[in-house]
Amino acid sequence: MSYVDVNGKQIEVDEDGFICDPDLWNEEIVRCFARLEGVDELTDDHWKVIHYLRGYYRQFGIAPMIRKLCKETGFNLQRIYELFPSGPAKGACKLAGLPKPTGCV
């Protein structure tokens, strides 16, 4: 396991850089992960996606369908990729502190 230093606190992440314990997630971690993911500035649009994913995950224990994410945030897929260069699954979900979506994706 590796650790990411978030303001002096060691946060455990898996080999793909996803948080191991989603309950530890907080906004400080988002800022730190954002730098690692090549997101220079976190805008309101970023937070909108992150908070939506977070809320969905808290309710259902998994990431929403990409189509639903787009519809509910009002961003098309292209916009999501602009916001999170590694995409909705590997980028946005990572920042939102979700486990990495796996399977045939």
């Binding site: 080999e15 369908m65 519809k71 796996t102 399977g103 045939c104 994706v105």
Partner: protein, 450 residues
């Protein structure tokens, strides 16, 4: 070369019911399991005994062509098991050793197996070109199964297996999330068509149990939408099951018991729901496993088993389809073309749905793999995946301008966008076959529509 592929840790391997072997236990356990397999899987022994090293298959393997690694040439790949087999299970090998190509287990054996059996997409293209019918995929699948018996399982496969244990699908979608997704998709279809197109969940007494790929509820929603619209138009009695929301069967690709366990999920769900017909969705290897292994894994079953593309092709006459003005190329997933008997069906469907169908060359039984086949979808393998996809990329490029690449398999759908982007086709639209059925269907004119 050592593979970048990550292996699951011992405790995670135990969590999916497998027993990791300690260092000193590996060789005896491997030999004992190989002996067992040799008895139970007659074809394996034939594949191991037969190759005459004529080299015919070598330049037909996209994995060898894409990576240029000599150990990815099918006969060299299979030799990684063959030499151990010769050494221990043939008289000549036992007596004469190396001159017969026999070699014993050593410190490199397992690394080489992990590296090269997981750079084989299990696509069976080599077998098409072998004059003796040697199917290297049989050897490498057996090799992967043997590795799993030592507890050596890719982390990716382990995670999928764990999700399957918990939820019955690769992605780990729990039932409440599925219901939420279904509701969302129904709203989408209502908005689009004005009709209440349903995706029934766990509906007992349905005639048809439809088994989608769980990726249809994450990235490939147009595939399940196409399927739902078709059933609606036909007035079919159908349901999906929250207990087996997965056409894929990764067990086929790494561990026999996992394959059987997932196959039994299908049987159990079909029996509980009373379905007469089980339709498998767009997943290549899952269809191969269901079609070829159901009897062995689950015994005689009461339902009929069919693929959704076959079912759709048979029902084309009852669907009101308007040809979309698109130039569409068809990618034949390896498992449909060389293990699934689904070659004409997607063509018949596409001809009814689009104005122009383009053939990639080569195609049908000679199709090249997308490079992700057999679950080589791990992120850490991306560099290798792109090399494995090189032949496919060349084929797509040679097809000229196309509007859509139809690939009726979730692994292909996950892999091909990376291949397309890497080889200079970032804007190519890629999706399933059923997606286009959904888009081409005139919902108000189809028979059975409400």
């Amino acid at each position: 070369m050592k593979s970048p592929m990550r292996l699951a840790k011992a405790e995670d391997v135990r969590a999916i019911g497998l027993a990791p072997a300690a260092e000193e236990e590996r060789k005896p356990r491997l030999l004992a399991k190989l002996k067992e397999l040799r008895g139970s899987m007659r074809s394996l022994a034939v594949m191991l005994d037969t190759c005459v090293k004529c080299g015919n298959c070598v330049r037909q393997c996209h994995s060898y062509l894409g990576t240029g690694d000599p150990l990815n040439a099918p006969p060299a790949r299979a030799d990684l098991m063959r030499k151990l087999y010769r050494r221990h299970f043939t008289l000549a090998g036992r007596l004469l050793g190396r001159i017969t190509g026999a070699e014993d287990f050593d410190a490199q054996t397992l690394d080489a197996w992990l590296t090269y059996f997981y750079q084989c997409n299990e696509c069976r293209r080599c077998a098409v070109f072998c004059p003796l019918g040697v199917d290297t995929a049989e050897v490498t699948i057996a090799g992967r199964h043997l590795l799993s018996e030592l507890g050596m399982v890719p982390r990716f496969m382990q995670q999928v297996a764990l999700n399957l244990q918990k939820t019955g699908n690769n992605m780990g979608i729990p039932k409440p999330a599925l219901l939420d997704s279904v509701e969302f998709l129904q709203c989408e279809m209502l908005e689009e068509t004005g009709l209440a197109v349903k995706i029934p969940v766990d509906q007992a007494g349905s005639e048809i149990l439809y088994i989608p790929s769980s990726a249809d509820f994450f990235t490939n929603v147009d595939t399940i939408i196409g399927v739902a619209k078709m059933f609606h138009a036909l007035g079919a009695s159908w349901t999906i099951s929250s207990a087996v929301l997965e056409a894929a069967n990764f067990g086929l690709l790494f561990n026999d018991s996992a394959m059987r366990a997932h196959n039994r999920r299908m049987r159990q769900a079909a029996e509980e729901l009373g379905a007469e017909l089980v339709l498998q969705g767009e997943c290549g290897h899952g269809w191969r496993a269901a079609r070829l292994c159901t009897e062995a894994a689950s015994g005689p079953v009461r339902f009929r088993l069919m693929h959704v593309l076959d079912y759709t092709a048979r029902n084309l006459g009852r669907l009101a389809l308007r040809r979309l003005s698109m130039r569409v190329a068809l990618h034949d997933p390896c498992n449909y073309a060389r293990a699934g008997d689904l070659i004409d069906e997607p063509r018949r469907i596409l001809r009814a749905c689009v104005e122009e169908l383009v053939e990639l060359a080569p195609n049908r039984e000679e199709t090249f793999c997308c490079g992700g086949g057999s679950g080589i979808l791990m992120d850490e393998m991306m560099e290798i995946r792109l090399k494995l996809g090189k032949k496919k990329a060349e084929q797509i490029q040679a097809a000229g301008r196309i509007d859509y690449l139809a690939a009726g398999c979730s692994i292909c759908k996950a892999q091909l966008p990376h291949v397309a982007a890497h080889y200079g086709m970032p804007d190519l639209a890629i999706g399933g076959v059923m997606d286009l059925v959904g888009k081409a269907m005139d919902m108000n004119r189809s028979t059975g529509g409400v």
